[in-house]
């Protein structure tokens, strides 16, 4: 049988699924992871950012709320939970520790200082330090125990440091205190020895005994022997030196001192070198010599002073006696004899010459000349020269004192006057102005007599010593405003004619300008106004006024015061200018006050004020012969006429007028030329005090004061002008009788004829003028006539001139009737014409 093949498999099997590479899933997973990672990163960023901000918020909170409050708040909230709170907690902890530690250290430092200052005991200090340390640590323990622990450790270190420091301080103090105690004991004991060296009975032996005791005391106190001995030696060295000085200074006399010096030279100071001992004794010798010189100087000063006082007052100073024993003790005998002679001479001189205090200048000159003459005949010319020099110096000193303060000089040299001023002061202090014024007038009488004797220039004749016047200023200015007017009037009335000078003397010593004017014023209302404004400043018064008012007021015042100013300033120089400026300032203040308070216009106010303050503003003379202001109590015309009549050669010849300085003005070399110049161009000006006139040359427009023979300005008080003129004319008239009266008649007739138009009269008068010129003219009448002849240009003028002659010069003249007839004749002739 055939074998049939069977189908043989090729072995093909169903394919098994191959392992897939799930890359997508893997990548998806990676993508997921990546996304997750990136989101994590972003989340981290955001978180870190948020954490940072939270930290900042936490720190900000600490800054705003403070460390401890923040910690306490967190503690109360159960501790920090958020990042911000943790950050706040961390920051607050750090800051709190530092803050608390700083406070604690501050307290520790304060404690050290306080303890140092109060010398606190170490135990007390440690207790206080522990309180600070524990207290501060405990304060933080509540909020942060960890921080509190750190703080406690730090504070413990600090407290140890400060304890150590204070221990050093306390130790140093204790050492210093102990040293100071020893030093003090030694110092006190040493001082006792030094003090005992300068008491009576102290000797070198007693001092050395005390020194031994000091040494033992020091050794007991624990001082090293070497140092203790050094101290004792030093103390004894000083003490013995002091003792010697003491003994020397308290020696009874120069001889005793010399004896001590010898002893010291033989027995040198212990512990001193030869040079030091030599210097010590040399110093004592110098002291001895200086003492002798000082005693000599003192005795000589006393003697000189006594001789000056003796010469000035006629008696030695109270209590002075020439101590013969002393003088001969301290001066060599020849010198002592000289001083004795000088004293005896001074006494003789006083007996022979009188006291310088009431000696007229002429007598002083006479004595001076006598002493000068003695030089030639004296056996001892040098002594005579000295006597002359001493005398001249005494006179110069007196004149200087009179020039500075004449009243003071008299008060010092005249016991009565000095006592009177003291009595016046007491009376014023008692408030009795009335009596004080009377007393002042009495003193014035005495002073004027003295001034007359001493020939003190009028301008220097102050009645009150300047210091006294200064006290019066204080009294015046302290018077209550309400009663001031009454008091001022009382003073002015009681002082009578001295009142103006009294006010000027006060003004010179600083009386306020308003008070000065108030004292011159008699109007109580004006006085009160002046006193009221005396304390006010003009700037204050101007406040509230329109800006033009001050200038308008000044303009109005200037207009009113123009003539017054010219006349016032012409004679007084800087003093008058000062017074005028004061018056002006017061008037300006018063005017502005009235404008402000009374609503016046500037013109009206100025007029009222000028009337009230310088009523004499229109009593002014401005002429060729004078520029001056006349006080209200005098008639301006009378004064002008009198002043004019002074400028007559006959009158001028009788006045005490010195020729102008020939060196500067050779043209005025002699008296006739000077008088002629004054008669033609002389000019009167106010004196510096406004109560009189001073005569001046007018040299080429320059006004030069006329001086008297004693060198003062020639001055005539208004009050004395008539008297002086009358006396002078009286004297002239007394000589008139010796002259042919018919000359006058001829002169007047001729003048009248000339005035009437007579052609021959001129030649007749010229002949008469020549005749008069050749005659020795001692009578001002002739000069008048001569002057009138030369100056008359009309009958009317002649009439007036003759009227003056009759009215002024010859009222008391026995020949008055002659003049009256002449005048009548002349007037009739003139009237006929």
């Amino acid at each position: 049988m055939a074998i049939l093949p069977r189908y043989q498999r090729i072995g093909l099997k169903t394919r098994q699924p191959q392992q897939m590479d799930f890359a997508a899933a893997r990548e998806q997973a990676k993508l997921g992871q990546n996304i997750s990672q990136q989101l994590d990163r972003m989340s981290d960023f955001a978180f870190k950012k948020g954490a940072d901000q939270a930290e900042l918020r936490g720190q900000e909170r600490v800054r705003e709320e403070g460390a401890l409050p923040t910690l306490e708040a967190l503690q109360q909230a159960g501790g920090p939970t958020t990042i911000a709170e943790r950050a706040a907690s961390d920051a607050a902890n750090r800051i709190a520790v530092v803050e608390v530690e700083s406070l604690a250290k501050q307290d520790m430092q304060n404690l050290v200082r306080e303890a140092d200052k109060n010398n606190m005991s170490m135990t007390a200090f440690e207790g206080s330090m522990a309180d600070i340390r524990d207290g501060y640590a405990a304060s933080l323990d509540v909020v942060d125990p960890v921080a509190a622990g750190v703080l406690a450790a730090r504070l413990s270190n600090s407290s140890m440091t400060y304890q150590g420091r204070y221990a050093d301080i306390a130790s140093r103090k204790a050492v210093a205190a102990a040293a100071a105690r020893v030093s003090e004991i030694v110092s006190v004991d040493s001082q006792v020895i030094l003090d005992s060296a300068t008491v009576p009975g102290a000797t070198r032996e007693s001092l050395e005994l005390a020194g031994q005791k000091l040494l033992e005391d020091q050794l007991t106190l624990g001082v090293k022997e070497k140092n203790a001995r050094k101290v004792v030696d030093s103390v004894l060295q000083q003490a013995i030196r002091q003792n010697r000085l003491y003994l020397f200074d308290n020696a009874a006399d120069v001889e005793q001192k010399q004896k001590l010096l010898n002893e010291y030279a033989e027995n040198p100071l212990p512990g001193y070198t030869y040079e030091q001992n030599r210097s010590f004794t040399g110093s004592l010798e110098s002291n001895l010599n200086a003492e002798v010189r000082k005693a000599q100087g003192s005795a000589l000063d006393d003697l000189n002073n006594a001789m000056v006082v003796l010469g000035a007052t006629g008696s030695p100073p109270p209590g002075y006696e020439f101590d013969y024993e002393k003088i001969f003790g301290i001066f060599p005998e020849d010198q002592a004899v000289l001083y004795e002679d000088a004293w005896l001479d001074a006494n003789d001189d006083v007996l022979n010459r009188g006291a310088l205090a009431d000696m007229p200048p002429s007598r002083a000159v006479e004595i001076s000349e006598g002493l000068a003459a003695e030089i030639a005949t004296s056996e001892d010319p040098s002594k005579a020269i000295k006597r002359l020099a001493d005398w001249n110096e005494s006179v110069a000193n007196r004149n200087d004192a009179l020039d500075k303060d004449a009243a003071l000089f008299v008060a010092q040299t005249n016991e009565g006057v000095g006592g009177a001023f003291e009595a016046i002061q007491e009376t014023i202090a008692a408030g009795n102005i009335d009596l004080a014024s009377k007393m002042l007038l009495n003193v014035r009488e005495i002073l004027l007599v003295d001034y007359d004797i001493l020939q003190v220039p009028t301008s220097k004749q102050n009645i009150m010593p300047k210091q006294f016047a200064g006290q019066m200023v204080n009294v015046i200015q302290s018077i209550e405003t309400d009663v001031a007017s009454e008091t001022f009037n009382l003073i002015r009335n009681r002082l009578e004619d001295y009142a103006p000078q009294f006010i000027q003397e006060l003004r010179a010593q600083g009386l306020r300008p308003e008070y000065v004017q108030a004292m011159y014023s008699t109007n109580a209302a004006v006085q009160k106004e002046l006193l009221d404004i005396s304390g006010r400043d003009i700037k204050e018064i101007k406040v509230g006024l329109e800006s033009t008012v001050p200038n308008d007021t000044k303009t109005a015042l200037n207009l009113l015061l123009e003539d017054y100013r010219q006349g016032y300033l012409a004679g007084g120089g800087s003093a008058a200018e000062a017074v005028f400026n004061e018056q002006y300032a017061v008037m300006e203040k018063l005017a502005l006050t009235r404008i402000k308070e009374q609503g016046l216009d500037p013109s009206t106010a100025a007029e009222g004020v000028v009337q009230d303050i310088v009523a004499e503003f229109d009593q002014v003379v401005l002429s060729k012969q004078g520029k001056y202001v006349v006080p209200m109590e005098f008639n301006v015309q009378t004064i002008e006429d009198n002043a004019s009549m002074f400028l007559n050669e006959k009158v001028l010849n009788r006045l005490d007028i010195a020729p102008l300085d020939s060196a500067q003005y050779p043209g005025f070399v002699d008296e006739p030329v000077t008088i002629a110049s004054l008669a033609s161009t002389g000019i009167w000006l106010n004196n510096s005090t406004g109560d009189g006139l001073t005569l001046h040359f007018n040299v080429n427009g320059v006004e030069l004061p006329v001086l008297t023979s004693v060198g003062s300005e020639y001055e005539v008080k208004f009050s004395e002008m008539s008297r002086i003129l009358s006396e002078t004319q009286e004297a002239i008239r007394s000589e008139l009788l010796v002259v042919e009266p018919d000359i006058i008649e001829r002169a007047v007739s001729g003048a009248a004829a000339l005035a009437m138009g007579s052609r021959e009269a001129r030649s007749q008068l010229e002949g008469l003028e020549t005749e008069l010129t050749n005659v020795e003219l001692n009578d001002p009448t002739y000069q008048y006539v001569k002057d009138y002849i030369g100056s008359v240009s009309s009958a009317q003028a002649l009439s007036f001139k003759l009227q003056e002659v009759v009215d002024r010069g010859f009222k008391k003249d026995p020949t008055k009737s002659v003049w009256e007839n002449l005048k009548a004749q002349l007037i009739q002739t003139y009237e006929r014409k």
Binding site: L12, R15, A23, R26, E27, Q38
Partner: protein, 154 residues
């Protein structure tokens, strides 16, 4: 060196370096995507290759079948056996069954190989996209980090 260090520490340098890093990450993502694309193509090629091999196997099975059938018929005829009946017919049926089964297996395997390759290629394409997307995310993260650092250093 200190100057370079200081310059590197500035915010601008941080920002620039972050940008460069992001760009690198993007480039890496693109490269990986390209790699996956190539792997996908390779997988497809490999699948087709395997399918061809499986088709060859199916042809081999059919040839083996033909040879078996021919032998049965030829030998039965030679042996006087009716090739259409009896054992010859059975053997032929058997051979037909086995041969066809193997052929079908080969055909199924080829289909499977192609399908599997296609699936793998699809996976690789998806992986490439995912990788690129991942690089975008990384780059974004890097840029974000750089911006943060820049902000911190300003």
């Amino acid at each position: 060196m200190a100057a370079i260090g200081a310059m590197m520490a500035t915010g601008g340098a941080q920002m620039a370096m972050g940008a460069f890093s992001a760009m690198g990450q993007l480039a890496a993502g693109s490269a990986q995507k390209r790699q996956y694309a190539q792997q996908a193509r390779q997988a497809e090629i490999q699948g087709r290759s395997q399918a061809i091999a499986y088709k060859q196997k199916g042809a081999d099975a059919l040839r083996n079948l033909n040879e078996t059938l021919a032998a049965i018929i030829s030998r039965g005829a030679a042996g006087g056996i009716d090739p259409t009946s009896g054992s010859a017919a059975t053997l032929q049926q058997y051979a037909m069954g086995e041969g066809v089964r193997e052929f079908n297996i080969a055909a199924d395997n080829a289909v499977m190989a192609l399908g599997q390759a296609s699936t793998q290629a699809g996976i690789y394409q998806s992986a490439g996209k995912a990788a690129q997307l991942s690089s975008f995310v990384s780059a974004a993260g890097t840029l974000g980090q750089s911006a943060y650092r820049y902000g911190q250093l300003q």
